[in-house]
């Protein structure tokens, strides 16, 4: 019988060599007690992170111009949410890997209509000042083309870098219809605190879905700035970080790593890097899926499964066994 066959037989068959007393139950109880003591100590000494959630009330107070501009972009259909595509709407294709478009295949399953869901319906759900109520009526009675024309014109004028550049007081006169009044009305509603309660589901009692709040919040710079300040951005290893000095999801290091590569953080507008950056999530998730499959099926992959034999760290693990058998 060859040495290899002997080894394989030894690995398959129940062990008949030297044995030692070992109480697994006792070991488990001791291990649980040790972990409990360690956890209690860590909890007592360091506590846990809990930075309060951002609110639309806070956004309106801290950065009203940002909320105003974001509201206009929602009405104009130029915000990230409005152009996102599936699963929220059909206004974008989503990410793709070559000809593979799983985001599109999945379809619209959580419909979000930013102009109505983020602006019009919340405003309409509350009693508004006369000018806002009139603006709402004007908006609702106009056709879709007219609404788009007003909102796009105002959005363009408000964000013109050579003109208003985000300052509503410097926007030149134009055909903006009720858009400025609606945006002012929503900022006022947010400042009063009413928008936070109404946004998830206007007119309904129970709310457990925060999709609309998260999307609207993320369309402006308020959430993004807070993420940057807390080192939570994807290219700051943010996936592994937490607010404050607490450890985050450290186990996502192999995932977060790919977001640090320049090819997935490119400023280029065309070419390979631009494509990878624009579709970074799908490419990185595909890489992670392949990595996971490799790890999962490692026992069957020639070469990789031999690494432990070639780099004999196992001799450290079983050093007592080898020492006693000499």
């Amino acid at each position: 019988m060859s040495a290899r066959t002997k080894q394989e037989t030894l690995e398959r068959e129940p062990w008949t060599g030297p044995a030692r007393h070992y109480d697994i139950i006792k070991e488990g109880v001791i291990a649980t007690l040790v972990v409990t003591v360690l956890t209690v100590a860590l909890a007592a000494i360091f506590s846990s992170p809990d930075d309060p959630a951002l609110t639309f009330h806070g956004w309106a107070k801290d950065a009203p111009d940002s909320l105003y501009a974001t509201t206009v972009s929602e009405l104009a259909g130029t915000s990230d949410s409005a152009t996102y595509g599936p699963p929220y709407n059909n206004n974008g294709d989503g990410q793709m890997m070559g000809s593979l478009t799983p985001q599109k295949w999945a379809g619209v399953r959580q419909p979000v209509d930013p102009p109505n869901d983020f602006v019009i319906n919340p405003l309409a759900s509350q009693q508004q000042p006369a000018d806002v109520a009139t603006a709402l009526e004007t908006w609702k009675s106009a056709g879709a083309d007219q609404q788009t024309s007003w909102a796009t014109a105002y959005d363009t004028a408000l964000n013109d870098p050579k003109g208003a550049n985000g300052d509503a007081t410097k926007v030149p006169t134009g055909e903006y219809g009720p858009v400025p009044t609606l945006a002012t009305g929503l900022v006022a509603m947010a400042e009063s605190g009413a928008l936070d309660g109404v946004l998830p589901a206007p007119g309904q009692f129970f709310t457990t879905d925060n999709t609309k709040q998260i999307l609207f919040l993320g369309d402006g710079s308020y959430l993004d700035d807070a993420g940057t300040a807390n080192h939570l951005q994807g290219n700051q290893w943010g996936m592994m970080n937490e607010t404050g000095n607490f450890p985050g999801q450290q186990w996502l290091a192999p995932f977060s790593f790919w977001y640090q590569l320049p090819v997935f953080n490119s400023e280029a507008e065309t070419g390979f890097a631009a494509t990878l950056t624009a579709n970074g999530d799908i490419y990185i998730l595909a890489i992670i899926a392949v990595m996971m499959l490799i790890v999962m099926f490692l026992p069957f992959i020639p070469g990789l499964r031999s690494i432990p034999r070639l780099i004999p760290i196992y001799k450290l693990v079983w050093r007592d066994y080898y020492k006693n058998q000499k």
């Binding site: 291990a31 972990v35 360690l38 360091f46 985001q103 939570l232 607010t243």
Partner: protein
């Protein structure tokens, strides 16, 4: 002793024909009690690396216990209660320890090539349990109902949407994530851990990579020594 009992005990062990009987026979064959709850282990099982598997289980126990307390008071309790904050901290740190121990356990098993000798299923269930635990942790982070959960929900949605999963698993839906975090993923993880442990018991602890050489060498040495010297 009744006649029926005596006849039953004396009956030859015929193969079972019922489903439950077949399951009993399979368990008796693959995992008899002395294999399920052994009082001895192979002598080579003598390293600190073996402790990390059971430490991972201990941390999982603390996670479940602290999570059960949090579940009774709801996801926002810890914002307003110092007791709640302490239990949230227990949950938070036990998760950190759980992953630390599990990663060391997995790394240890890799360097021991612990999949040898028909133990591939044990390795695979361990890796799948790790992936499920990552999902359980992610849903835990998004049900914190604080700034971090807002941020993670906003960021994570893009990755999940990009591969189509986001259409069914919406990280911005607190209700969905709470149920998945508190019930679904822990249940799946519990089953995987149970299968993993049973497989460890069925196959036993993997022998050292060159155990056969050591056994042979030892045998040769013993034979070469005079009887009285042994």
């Amino acid at each position: 002793m009744s006649t029926d009992t005596a006849r039953h005990e004396a009956a030859p062990a015929a193969p079972a024909t019922t489903w439950i009987g077949r399951l009993r026979d399979l368990l008796q064959r693959k995992l008899p009690y002395d294999k399920l709850l052994p009082e001895t282990q192979p002598a080579y099982m003598a390293s600190w690396i073996y402790v990390f598997g059971v430490l991972t289980l201990g941390a999982l126990g603390v996670i479940v216990a602290s999570g059960a307390v949090l579940a009774f008071r709801g996801p926002a309790w810890y914002h307003i209660s110092t007791t709640g904050l302490f239990f949230n901290s227990l949950h938070f740190w036990s998760v950190q320890l759980f992953f630390l121990f599990m990663v060391i356990h997995l790394a240890g098993k890799f360097w021991m090539a612990a999949w040898r000798g028909k133990r591939a299923k044990t390795w695979i269930t361990g890796v799948v349990a790790f992936v499920v635990a990552v999902g359980a942790a992610l849903t835990g982070y998004v049900v914190q109902t604080n700034f971090d959960s807002q941020w993670i929900a906003f960021e994570a949605k893009d990755g999940l949407n990009a591969v189509g999963i986001g259409s069914w698993f919406n990280v911005a839906d607190l209700g969905q994530n709470l149920l998945i975090h508190v019930f679904l993923l822990p249940a799946i993880l519990g089953v995987l851990v149970a299968i993993h442990l049973l497989l460890v018991r069925v196959h036993g602890i993997v022998p050292p990579i060159d155990a056969a050489e050591v056994v042979e060498r030892t045998t040769v040495q013993e034979k070469s020594q005079p009887e009285e010297a042994r």
